[in-house]
């Protein structure tokens, strides 16, 4: 039962922090809370027996992606957003949306009995090894394609973010 309590604990952290991400006006604070959310989720992954996923979650998400966000925030020197920056129509949208979401969850909750029973002790003994085996045998081609994709993204982001060499249309 300890695991379940740990799960609730980290889930609470994740939900609160992610609420902070979308509600705080300071983008750096939002980014930091995003890190907290990600780390809490990593802890959940450990609880779910996926150590490797937890590690790359922290390594890639917290260690690289959010750092990028922070960099951009710093580069553009985005301070506090002014008050009243929520999109005009969105109070209603938000309400409706949350209601809809809650409804879906409730319905989902009701229909949960149909889920197949879990495989007990399903977690692999050597999680990293198994993930590695799957990645490099069954998913080799997707893996290679993915690496190609990330190379393309690298080049594309350089091209997009580069200072334009032609005169701007407004200038």
């Amino acid at each position: 039962m300890v695991e379940v309590w740990f799960f609730y604990f980290f889930a609470a952290i994740a939900v609160v922090a992610s609420l902070g991400v979308i509600l705080l006006r300071n983008p750096v604070a939002a980014a930091m809370l995003l890190v907290v959310t990600l780390c809490a989720l990593a802890a959940e992954y450990v609880l779910l027996g996926a150590e490797f996923s937890a590690a790359i979650q922290v390594l890639v998400y917290a260690g690289a992606i959010v750092i990028l966000f922070t960099f951009v925030i710093m580069m553009l020197n985005l301070g506090q957003e002014e008050v009243g920056q929520l999109a005009g129509f969105s109070k209603w949208a938000l309400l409706l949306f949350m209601l809809g979401g809650a409804g879906v969850i409730l319905i989902q909750r009701l229909s949960m009995g149909a889920l197949p029973p879990g495989v007990p002790g399903g977690a692999a003994s050597d999680n990293t090894y198994e993930v590695g085996m799957a990645l490099f045998t069954k998913y080799l081609w997707p893996f290679e394609l993915a690496s190609l994709l990330i190379l393309l993204a690298l080049i594309a982001s350089v091209v997009i973010a580069r200072k334009p060499t032609f005169p701007s249309r407004d200038a």
Binding site: M32, A55, I56, A62, G63, I67, F71, M74, M75
Partner: protein, 360 residues
């Protein structure tokens, strides 16, 4: 051995972990004073001067060892000043955020073989993980936030530039660092640090002999990751005053110092673990040591001493290099990272994999 009936395995491990964490924390806190003393005495020796040697009790000078104590006291009691334009919360948090990952890093290091207390085997690392190496990489990745936030929260030009430099540098060198570890994982077949150490059972199986290029890359990245000379661009006192901690004083400044030295210590330990057999004493097998001393625990203590000695060598190397080599230019730094270390690391991984495949 007497069995304590009230405690089950989990409880014992939790208690042991807490104890180990406290021990490590206290031990780590002692590193900066000693290191600061070393940093002042060693260059003095190198430059044929005396260095600080006066502070002491009456006539026991202790080679000036107490100088740093005096410095620490001074730092802690100094008035704190916070820039008016700073983002206050992050300004205060940043040193702690910077310190936390390094502490986690240290806690993943196995300082010795497991000891036995009351019949329970207690591993000598705060947290023993199957994916220790990945954990360490993840933690170093998060380590950038302290620096970044400190520079940003100070809201000053020098701080921001220093922090941008430092974080770009740390991110850049994380990649070759990670690449330099992959050959070792390939050779020893584990991500568990204790397993890695045990695999280096004899001197000739040490990482430095089996993968010397990895060692070279790791060594360079070690200096870059800690922002130490010759990669101390982020501080670059001649251009940026003090980089990301320009605005920091008093205890928070001390915390940054602490973070830097703990990071150095952690990386030194990791280097010893990966390339120099960890806690294993050269030419003496652990079993021999156990039979020689007659106790598992004493043998483990010897192992701990061995690891600390090896780490001490690298700490000294940090100081040595700092007072020997001039600082790189920023573009040179990036060039080394991306155009030299990265391709070298990739080639190293490929060659190691090919050799292993050929041998298998």
């Amino acid at each position: 051995m007497m069995q304590l009936p009230v405690l089950d395995e989990t409880a014992v491990q939790i208690i042991a972990t807490i104890v180990k964490f406290l021990v490590v924390l206290v031990g780590v806190l002692h590193i900066p004073p000693v290191m600061i003393w070393v940093e002042r005495r060693v260059p003095a020796l190198m430059q044929r001067r005396r260095g600080p040697n006066r502070v002491g009790f009456f006539k026991w000078r202790l080679w000036g060892l107490l100088q740093t104590l005096a410095d620490a006291v001074k730092l802690i009691f100094k008035e704190e000043s916070v820039p008016g334009s700073a983002y206050k919360g992050f300004f205060h948090l940043a040193p702690l955020i910077g310190l936390l990952p390094t502490l986690l890093f240290v806690s993943a290091i196995p300082f010795g073989p497991a000891i036995e207390i009351g019949g329970w085997k207690i591993p000598l690392s705060v947290i023993e993980l199957d994916i220790g190496l990945l954990f360490i990489l993840a933690v170093t990745g998060v380590g950038v936030y302290g620096v970044t936030l400190a520079g940003w929260a100070s809201n000053g030009k020098f701080s921001l530039l220093g922090s941008l430099r430092a974080s770009a540098q740390m991110i850049s060198y994380e990649i070759p660092l990670g690449l330099s570890l992959i050959p070792l994982v390939l050779i020893y077949g584990s991500l568990n640090l204790q397993q890695l150490i045990l695999a280096q059972s004899s001197v000739w199986k040490w990482g430095i002999f089996l993968s010397p290029i990895s060692f070279l890359i790791f060594l360079i990245c070690m200096f870059a990751e800690t922002n130490r000379a010759p990669f101390d661009l982020s501080e670059g006192e001649s251009e940026l005053v003090a980089g990301f901690h320009t605005e920091y004083g008093s205890a928070k400044f001390a915390l940054f110092f602490l973070g830097e030295y703990v990071a150095m210590f952690a990386l030194s330990c990791l280097c010893s673990v990966l390339f120099f057999g960890g806690w294993q004493i050269p030419f003496v097998a652990h079993e021999q040591l156990v039979s020689l001393t007659g106790s598992v625990n004493i043998a483990a203590l010897c192992g701990v001493m061995a690891l600390l000695l090896k780490a001490a060598f690298f700490m000294w190397l940090y100081v040595w290099v700092r007072w020997t080599l001039p600082r790189f230019r920023y573009d040179q730094l990036m060039k080394i990272g991306w155009k030299f270390l990265l391709p070298l690391g990739l080639a190293n991984v490929c060659v190691t994999a090919l050799v292993l495949a050929a041998l298998a």
